[in-house]
Symmetry: D2
Subunit: 441 residues, 4 copies
């Protein structure tokens, strides 16, 4: 079938072996000829470690995939078919600040839909829009598959501020929820289907089907019994109030604990910060260990320890999506894509997370009508936050950024918003030229 | 013109002299023949005091308005032209609980769009729906003009759960904001026009015009200078963060402080509760004094002290609306009415607060397209709260009520929601038969 | 798997062997235990002929399907899983009138979206709503799969005027268009995918994909070359004006010739009426021959001649749908279902024809955003016609029926509408009790 | 109040005395300082005749309005406050072709929403967009008040293809309908209010109020009695079918006869063409007479004969609108403006004709929810026609123009569309450079 070129920006990430494994497993259907791992100067060492590991994995699998390591993004993008992004501007140190600074003001940082996420967005969006500009020129037909958080705000920014339409935001939360629900039901994952709809890290399971039969009530019952918490490695497991979940009649995602259990989650985060460290700090340790392992010239398969990193099903999500686009599979996956009427209370041109039929022409959302009345407000609030945050990232306007911070549901007042804002702006100064160069001008 | 019969339910309210004065002033255009003041057994004494005062006012004005005092609602409603509602189920004692109980859990009570408002809605909605049923039978062409809070949730409930379409919810907040903005601008109120849109107690001034010129930026500047706070007697004056207001580019209403300054407002409310008492408790004192005055057989005009009660412009709002409907004036007033596309991110069949042309056929909203992106989330959240709350009021379903409580933006977690819920349910038991009779059934 | 009961109303139709063959072919996946063929007294003879033929077919296939013939609809419906409807109130004689009468006034009859279709709807809708009432009582979980024309108006009526939500309207046009496009492209049908959207007999192919690549322009080019007409047996093949099709950038369905080539089609219909007869009259001949064949006790398979009847892919459409619902296949089929936001310029609660994911919980439409601007008007016009027509069918109101007739795009004036209306009302009197009994009342 | 400059493009029109009279009458509220009448070289003589007449009128009124006559559009536009457009590219000769050519193919020409209107749009839109470009540069705050037909398509084009937002399309049809309805009711016009909604020359009176009471049914009854036809000078009076109007429950505008009585209107138009001439030809005679009158140096007031021209209430519509914008009157007028949700089945960014509150900031439409189901199709069809026609005018693309012609409800087939198209393109070649220069390029 000729060339099939995949480019991974942020290729030096510890997650890379996960995705490489996914590609190897699917090689028969998805015959990649070139895999380009791209990183920036600061990530050069990691890129080499993980890149060499990737080469060993491909070699052991006996596949004719050329693995390239490069710091030259434009060279990599030339004629690419798929571009995946998994970079982190400012690395885990920046995330640690995203988490620590808000906590000083008794506010949860939350690296996606919280104050931390706002700053991650402010740092990331200009970079992603730069990638889009390069793509327009160098690989205008390629698909951009974005994993970089805040994936909702980033996808919104690409839809609104770039000329790249072929963008899909991706997340492992829906697959994970499905597997956990399957476990609750004592069934294999492929017998379970969930109608997912919402935004990234703000997605709800509206209906659960087991072999096509609606078993939502059974799942809600099981979810609110004592020992079934359904959460993720990076989110503290806390029980839901049974009456609340039964009133809701839908399955919240693990991240919803930040919004529906704000006070308890804050307490837990404060405690973690004082003890084992914030999530970023914990992950820094895990990463250190992983890179030690990756250095081993005999290691040619994804190590067990990677699972601690929290990216379960990440490879599945990415590789399945690329595979279905490439092969026009028309199967159903949950992705971040343009709404186009699928959820009525969200503007048509905004990004949503929704079950979609995956075709060579991209995802085609399966409409749900509208979200349950009870959740529309919170979902709309995060959508407003994403849009105002994306605008601030593009304009570098202080008041717009402060507005985004103030309207975030985790932030208790405009004064607190300003305090967090000012301290974080200063702390991330180096990665926010749009705010600081302006001031000088 | 024959008969013009107005019925005021909750006629024993201390506000009554305000509205009577308004009717007297407008008599030439609005030749009321009968004014019926209705109250319940528990309010009989007050009804008599305030009713006699109303009779004296009418007499002194020399107008042929028959003032009737009655405990028989159905007799009063027979052939009415306008029905105004200003009653309070459980009186100020209930409101004091609405305020005090949430504070125990470090949550603002807020008698309209907060946990307190939920319980006020749960107590009020069944009564108002009963009035609607009577109206269907006894005065199907009458207009229901509702002042009873939570006016947004109540109007939503009437639209959704009764057969009365001729309902308008009314509030003095927009008029007051306009007068305050006029003062900021040093201009008479009639030179100022504001595009109001949102929900009750969640309304924004989107644009301000002085003699038709857009002066919004000037107003935002003045609003964020040190001494201009624009608030109401019942809401603590606190400055807005200037950058936030400038980013917002719209004028929040005084009640927005509860949502954009939650932590500071909570502190202030806790302090008040420990000192002068909650708002309900303060008002109880004011009311006691007012009724003493009303008893004076020589008093035949609205006393000065009524202004402390907090109902500035209340009479203006009510009487202007009734006058414009009665006379098909086609002037513009801000009311709570069915959306019908005027605000795109709110469902068409929901109640909104919006500038409308007032005709004999009711208010015709002037569309605004949509609210600013930044506020859509919060507005939608209150709309969700109103709808779920109204549903709980009608069904008496515990889980639905808990859902409403949990999604309220002032409530920090599902566990706290449950605690407040359970204590308030018990405290208001007497006025919530829909929850308790069920249990017995 | 226990019982799987299918009921076919209008079981005496000449099409029945087609669907029986479809069930037999799919038996492994779709293990039907009972097939009930239902008809009315007037169709008893045909029911027996075709029913015995069905029994022979099942027997020859060696399958344990019980075939029941009955005039007792309620007995048949009891505990059914799927109910298919393919009846014709007034038989082909009525259709002949639907075609002949309008032609007297130089108007095309068109048995679905024309004046003929209106009267077919007026006769059919009360019957189908009666079936729905029986279903509510006797098989509330069954799916109603409707083939009876006008399928768009009938589906709209069921959605709007019955309590049956589990309804799907079905048509062979989309499958046939797909097969014809595949032929144009010289490819097998399963390599071709078309984004279908619109209304029944008013559906457009918006994009054509061959192996996932968008080949719409190629198809439009081929369609407008001399010998490629893409039509159906019952619709005169006439070339499209190439510039029109290229401006349209979408593939019209064969029925669009009635609206975009009205004058030429009228001429052709007038000529046919004078020579071989209208379509109904031609079909009457075909049917007579078919029933002669079916009488042959040795015939146990669908005869070749059935293909002349015009129902190509009819069996495929029906059996595939039932199979995918039964087995929760989540494949994509084109069906008539509730819009729910899939096409933005059509009301959410209306029936549309659209590609949908077929699940055990019914079809889930894949949103298209909106139809091309150029076709929205005509589509909306037919939707208006369907809704007003359905309302007339239910209310029996003369003015409403006249309104439907006048707004039909084939009808050139209100006076002509009235003439056709009055003559057809009289001609179909016997089947329109809702119009005539009223008068007597 | 300083300067108030009004520019009238197409100032040499025979209508000019009408608008000048309107300005004179309103001078106290609308103190115009400069009135610039602009025309093109070909209209120079008429401009002088009518311009001098205008000067005499102003002089006789004793008002300090400077009347300027110029062929230099840019000089005129400099710092204008209002720009009105009433020009006719190709003059009445072109309109005569717009009417005559389609009639050759048995199609009504209809200079606004028919094939004639398409060509009028193709000629006019490039000119109006040129005016918009000049306005952006020379008077960016001015309001463009457009009377040039097809006013709907032209307003749509300005909204979609220029940067001028301050545009209002205007028509005398709604005022005239209101005056006719008032006459039917035997009441003064100011006691009558009608809810108008739709598109230009496709507007419906949804409800009629007399002194605020809904009297729609009375009006419908009167309208369908024998002698009440409610039409305009340029549209043949023909009775509506009573059942149709009663089914419709809304008041069609005179132009609706073209769509709901197509066959009869065609017959009438053919007859006129054979006898007194088409409307353009009749008007040419009227105009010749008018200009003879205008030449009279003693004539200083609008002559009676102008009323035959068909522009009754034209001056009222224009001057009232300008007056209300200038003085921020916030009264209600019916104008063509951007939809913004006022009519739900029309896209938000499209032009509609609707009752609006007229403010200094422009018209604010009063939402109606949606049009009656029965008319949505036809309205949408004209909206599609306007949009595709506007696109063709801008792009000069033949297929797009043919598409617009084919989807027009008066055109019976794509072949006929092509024939009319080709003959009209050739006939108007001189005024359609966008189609012909392209071919040469």
């Amino acid at each position: 079938m000729g060339k099939l070129k995949i480019v991974t920006i942020g290729g030096g990430s510890s997650y890379t072996p996960e995705i490489v494994e996914g590609f190897i497993k699917r090689y028969e259907e998805l015959p990649i000829t070139e895999l380009w791992l791209v990183d920036v100067e600061a990530g050069k060492e990691k890129l080499e470690i993980v890149g060499n590991m990737a080469k060993r994995m491909v070699k052991e699998a006996g596949l004719p995939i050329d693995v390239h390591l490069t710091l030259d993004r434009r060279e990599a993008l030339k004629d690419a078919d798929f571009v995946t992004t998994q970079f982190r501007v400012g690395l885990l140190d920046a995330r640690a600040k995203d988490e620590r600074i808000p906590l000083k003001y008794n506010v949860i940082g939350q690296e996606t839909n919280g104050p931390g996420g706002l700053f991650k967005g402010l740092r990331t969006i200009p970079v992603i829009l730069g990638i889009c500009k390069d793509m327009e020129e160098l690989c205008p037909n390629a698909w951009l598959v974005n994993f970089t958080n805040p994936a909702g705000m980033v996808t919104e920014a690409v839809l609104r501020y770039s000329n790249i339409n072929r963008v899909v935001g991706l997340c492992n939360v829906p697959i994970m929820m499905k597997m956990q629900v399957a476990e609750l039901l004592g069934a294999d994952g492929d017998r379970v289907h969930i109608d997912f709809a919402g935004l990234n890290h703000m997605v709800f399971g509206l209906n659960v089907y087991l072999d096509g039969e609606n078993v939502t009530d059974t799942v809600l019952d099981k979810m609110t019994s004592d020992d079934n918490k359904m959460t993720m490695q990076n989110i503290k497991a806390m029980n839901w109030e049974p009456g609340f979940i039964k009133g809701l009649k839908a399955i919240p995602c693990p991240y919803h604990r930040y919004y529906y259990k704000t006070s308890s989650m804050l307490e837990a985060e404060l405690e973690s910060a004082d003890n084992e460290g914030t999530r970023a700090e914990v992950v820094q340790g895990v990463e250190r260990d992983l890179f030690e392992l990756y250095k081993d010239p005999n290691l040619a398969h994804k190590p067990e320890q990677l699972s601690k990193r929290g990216g379960a099903y990440y490879s599945d999500a990415a590789c399945s999506l690329i595979n279905s686009i490439y092969n026009d599979k028309r199967d159903i996956q949950t992705v971040n894509t343009v709404n186009n009427g699928a959820i009525q209370s969200i503007p048509n041109d905004s990004a949503i997370e929704i079950n979609s039929v995956i075709t060579k022409d991209g995802p085609k959302p399966i409409g749900i009508g509208d979200l349950p009345v009870a959740v529309r407000g919170l979902v709309q609030q995060i959508k407003s936050f994403e849009r105002v945050g994306a605008e601030a990232a593009v304009t570098g306007d202080y008041n717009t950024a402060l507005l985004a911070m103030t309207i975030n549901p985790l932030v208790p007042s405009d004064e607190t918003a300003k305090k967090i804002m000012d301290e974080m702006l200063e702390a991330h100064k180096e990665h926010l030229p749009q705010f600081f160069n302006k001031v000088e001008a």
